[in-house]
């Protein structure tokens, strides 16, 4: 059962071949055993999952099932879950049990899905390797199969590793600069970052509010569509949520790709991209040609400024968002504070990890008197130039394709000494967040036994088209079905 997709599990439940309680027991058993070496979960909610599975079986018996009723999955530990610890991978929130649900959590609850627990992540979603978690690093199952401890990518590395290792068929994730697509690529799973505003951010712990977007991770594009059907939609509780109709994302999966115009941004096929990676990505693009797509080279002239703009905007917004962690109302508080300032400064010094503190300091600096115009305002202007590049590109093509990452999964510890080296992991993903457009990563081959991701980028609200393109590719390839040993 653990190899089946969400769509397949849903059919098994519908046909009565298995109950949700039986299915949930099987997945929990596997999860508890296999996750000892992966550490992809921070919390496993066994009791709650079995209770939810029982309720799901009753719903189904009463004829009130959705496609998700009784299907196991997991939430990234950034989505608030009422009564279940939500840590964001931080000591600051290690004891935080939210008294409410995120909208995304509530949506899956209403759909009857069975949450098995909360997945590991880089602290406050700041990282590309899931090594900065207070709860220890997550290991990529693909590295293990070669006798090496490689990173799963990040920040949604727990979700990606868990889906790759078949511990859950699907998991929620978030993406601020590549945190869905990069781990999806490194773990050989399929992930989608929707348009900014498509999925509610309510109850999703904030990192950089103008970039953060919740999204999906599963092995197939079809399962990503099933997830997005539950997650997408207007939410009055999120002030930047977009009020726009949500299509049935599964309805258009089978449309033919004949005539699809694909643009290849030339700036994304240079630099650090290895020849072996490029060969795999070009191979995937040839599959699209066979499916009837046409290929054209395009240019994103400001691509090389994306990382610089991001590392002003994201830390600046993070420094404001994370000011709420002060030891007064919830979360960590230092021992015996001698006065209020001591409580703030020691709580934050002890509760945050190194990378989070680094980014808060950079952001505070960029926003401080005398520097605001040179940094934040300048970065917001460059952000518009980057957005304009994409708008221009989409005048001629329907989607853009590129590698998701410049290289496959790296060894744990290899990039932790220099933050800037780690930042370059997101060189092909970060501009998409600045523009606010949707993009996916789809398994597209292997280099030295490690998965390679193809990034498919679309115009605003083109999630259905991206999912369609990914699904059609998965009908003629089996990269997404490969299993780490």
């Amino acid at each position: 059962m653990h190899n089946k997709s969400v769509a397949e599990l849903s059919r098994e439940l519908e046909s009565g071949k298995i109950s949700s309680v039986e299915l949930t027991r099987q997945f929990l058993g596997r999860l508890k055993k296999e996750d000892e070496q992966l550490n992809s979960f921070i919390t496993i909610t066994e009791e709650q999952a079995l209770a939810d599975a029982h309720a799901a079986d009753e719903q189904r018996a009463a004829g009130k099932a959705t496609p998700w009723t009784g299907v196991p999955f997991a939430h990234k530990d950034i989505f608030c879950t009422n009564g279940v610890a939500t840590t964001c991978g931080s000591k600051m929130l290690a004891n935080f049990v939210p008294p409410y649900d995120a909208t995304v959590t509530e949506n899956f609850r209403k759909a009857g899905a069975v949450c098995l627990g909360k997945t590991n992540m880089d602290e406050f979603a700041m990282g590309s390797s899931t090594e900065s978690s207070f709860f220890g690093a997550t290991t990529n199952p693909w590295g293990l199969s070669q006798g090496e401890k490689r990173v799963p990518g990040g920040s949604s590395g727990g979700s990606a590793a868990a889906v790759a290792a078949r511990l859950v068929p699907a998991a929620t994730a978030t993406d601020t600069g590549g945190s869905i697509r990069q781990p999806a690529a490194l773990c050989g799973v399929t992930g989608l970052k929707p348009t900014y505003g498509r999925v509610s951010r309510y109850g999703m712990i904030a990192f950089a509010s103008s970039l953060d977007q919740g999204g999906t991770m599963a092995r197939t594009a079809e399962d990503n569509a099933l997830m997005l059907n539950v997650m997408a939609g207007f939410d009055p509780k999120d002030s930047t949520s977009i009020d726009r109709d949500v299509p049935d994302y599964t309805a258009t999966l089978n449309e033919p790709l004949e005539g699809l115009r694909i643009g290849l941004p030339k700036e994304y096929f240079t630099g650090n991209l290895s020849a072996a990676m490029e060969e795999q990505v070009r191979g995937a693009i040839r599959e699209y040609e066979k499916l009837g797509a046409t290929i054209k080279e395009v240019s994103l002239p400001h691509a090389d400024l994306a990382i610089a703009a991001y590392y002003v905007i994201a830390p600046a917004e993070a420094s404001a968002n994370l000011s709420r962690f002060d030891g007064a109302r919830y979360g960590y508080r230092c021992e015996d504070p001698k006065d209020l300032l001591d409580m703030y400064t020691r709580t934050r010094a002890e509760g945050f990890g190194t990378e989070v503190k680094r980014r808060i300091l950079v952001g505070t600096y960029a926003l401080s008197a005398g520097y605001f115009d040179a940094y934040y305002l300048k970065a917001q202007k460059v952000r518009r130039l980057i957005q304009q590049d994409f708008i221009n590109a989409f005048k001629d093509v329907d989607v853009l394709m590129s590698p998701t990452t410049p290289s496959p999964a790296f060894i744990q510890g290899e990039k932790t000494s220099d933050p800037v080296t780690m930042y370059l992991e997101d060189v092909f993903t970060i501009a998409i967040n600045l523009a606010g457009i949707p993009a996916m990563s789809v398994p597209a081959g292997f280099v030295d036994g490690l998965p390679v991701g193809l990034q498919i980028i679309g115009d605003y609200f083109s999630e259905a088209r991206l999912l369609n393109a990914a699904h059609q590719f998965q009908q003629v390839t089996d990269w997404h079905q490969r299993e780490p040993q």
Binding site: P99, Y311, A328, Y460
Partner: protein, 95 residues
């Protein structure tokens, strides 16, 4: 772009993060490297470009001035480090 020890100490105060003396050198190097990366921005010509705050240029919605939430004080305070009589306790501010 270099960032001085004084800058780091000042920013740490603004950010309300205690930075110990022995951490300053490492931060000087790391923050300096990040600011070097960021300095690429100064090369971009942005004279006639409007800053972008929201990808879809959306503005904040207004809602009717009505009570829509219940008072959940007890639930919220149950997870606080210290409370008394419905108030959050912090170290004494006024002597």
């Amino acid at each position: 772009m270099t960032i001085s020890r004084t800058d780091i100490e000042k920013v740490a105060v603004l950010a309300r993060i205690r930075v110990d003396e022995e951490q300053v050198s490492a931060l000087e190097k790391d923050l300096g490297n990040i600011l070097d990366l960021v300095d690429q921005l100064s090369a971009a010509d942005t004279d006639s470009v409007a800053p972008m705050a929201h990808p879809l240029d959306a503005v904040q919605r207004l809602r009717a001035d009505e009570v829509t939430e219940n008072n959940e004080r007890e639930a919220f305070q149950a997870i606080a480090p210290a409370t008394e009589n419905g108030l959050y306790l912090v170290p004494r501010v006024i002597e």
